[in-house]
Amino acid sequence: MSDANLFQQQRLNRRRSAVLVTIFLLFFAWIGFGGDYILYLSTMPASTPAASRGARSTYHHTFPWCGIGATLLGIGMAWYGWRNGPKQVLWATGAWELVQPAKPEEQQLVNVVEEMAIASGLPKPSVWMVPDKDPNAFATGTDERHAHIAVTEGLLTTLTRDELQAVVAHELAHVKNYDVKLMTLLAALVGVLALISDGTRRFLGRGGARVAGRRSGGGGRKGGVGLLAILLVLWLVSVLLAPLVSRLLALAVSRKREFLADASSAQFTRNPAALASALRKIEDAAAPTTTIHRGTAHLCIADPLGRRASFKEGFLADVFGTHPPMAVRIARLKAMAYQYQKTGVIPEAV
């Protein structure tokens, strides 16, 4: 990747991170202030004296406590996700840090990471091992100086040195593009949203019906009730749909960057064929990577959930795969390898 291309990608990622955090905060504000508005409408003092005899009319919800609270909560969570995202991700996969390599394969991994740090001009990231037999790898971190690269034990036993190098280069490309920053933030925030949505669903299942029933029973505000119902439905729908939306967001941003990282890996190693054969081996191992869960799937070099969507082409794969189809990635790398062999120059993009 040329410098101009790289800076453009970094700028894009910085902007996307900002947009992501903004959407996240707006979402919390919408939930909070929406709740306030519903409370405001349902506790409004009735205009007719007959209705004001009800017990509820003693409290009138005018100050948006919920909205302010939810927004502050959102800010707190975003900040927490930003600070502790990498730690959370690594913890969630059960990775351990490789400080003192004991086995020859581990020494080789550390060497390869150091080599690729030189090639990419980045500071050396810390190296983590994920205890899993399935070959996979991911990178996380907040910036270049605090980057982590994790590979599964299966990756070390499956790949040759050159292939391992290509995979590590791919992960370092994510670090250099600022992809890790955005993707880690996304992982942290998606996790929070999933938690909220699950909680809401549980609430709806048990007490929700009772509350709704009581509310519609009192008060004589004909127009207010209609509006109230619509708002309530809208509000709940957005709470329930949040994880799906955030999921799609994760997918939308992660696929194109895989192609870019593949291209950068070829730039660093000058060996596109090695990454192609590494991807082939990772795909053939197709068993799901059990230690890597839904929230961190978009960080990995290959879809760890073994979802077939990532292996096929077509509309469904375009919408639901976290990664571009393997066949397409491999074909692009092979085209690069061919061009490199012919011209001696790694093409910018294919």
Binding site: P104, Q107, Q108, N111, E114, E115, M116, A119, T160
Partner: protein, 195 residues
């Protein structure tokens, strides 16, 4: 009228400062990339005595190959001490190419002694050697890329006016001239334990 002149002067000064800083940045990047090469070459040079000691006992009759490696290494160390991006890169590149060629000959010989490779230590050293060779190659790649953009920038038109002020000098690229060096990848140094 004089306002227009003033604005033009200010714009020129602002541009000059940013161009100056840009050149200084590139110069720093180039020196940094060079330092990286230096570090990796030192690593390579420090590794060789270990390697030679490890194989010396088992291959007494291959003395010539070992001597060639040691000699090439000592020569390279001497040249490295006085090489700078602005001069001596070509000489150092040639010396290192010679060392690389000697090392690959040694590796061919080592491959001929399976019992030598079986003694563990050698396998470890070979991994170190592979890694070191890669590091040198990647550091060189980074240096050449950085140095090229530095060279191009200081020759391009408006920047060339500032180049003198920023004390920008053309730097030498690390070019591979030796055919033997080009052909090195033919030897498989990988000591990857097969699954």
């Amino acid at each position: 009228m004089s306002w227009l002149l003033l604005i033009l002067i200010v714009a020129a000064v602002v541009w000059g400062i940013s161009a100056y800083n840009g050149l200084i940045q590139l110069k720093g990047d180039t020196l940094n990339a060079w330092k990286q090469i230096d570090v990796q070459l030192k690593r390579r040079h420090d590794l060789i005595p270990n390697l030679v000691n490890a194989v010396r006992g088992a291959m007494d009759f291959e003395r010539e190959t070992l001597e060639a490696v040691i000699q090439a290494r000592n020569q390279a160390v001497k040249i490295q001490a006085e090489a700078l991006p602005t001069g001596g890169v070509k000489k150092l590149a040639a010396a290192e190419a010679q060392l690389g060629a000697a090392l690959s000959r040694l590796n061919v010989v080592v491959e001929r002694y399976p019992q030598l490779k079986a003694t563990g230590n050698i396998g470890q050293l070979q991994e170190e050697l592979t890694s070191t060779e890669n590091r040198v190659a990647f550091a060189r790649q980074l240096y050449n890329d950085t140095a090229t953009s530095y060279n191009v920038r200081q020759q391009q038109f408006p920047w060339t006016l500032i180049a003198g002020v920023a004390r920008a000098e053309m730097v030498e690229l690390w070019e591979i001239t030796d055919e033997q060096e080009r052909a090195v990848p033919a030897v498989d140094l990988s000591s990857k334990p097969k699954a």
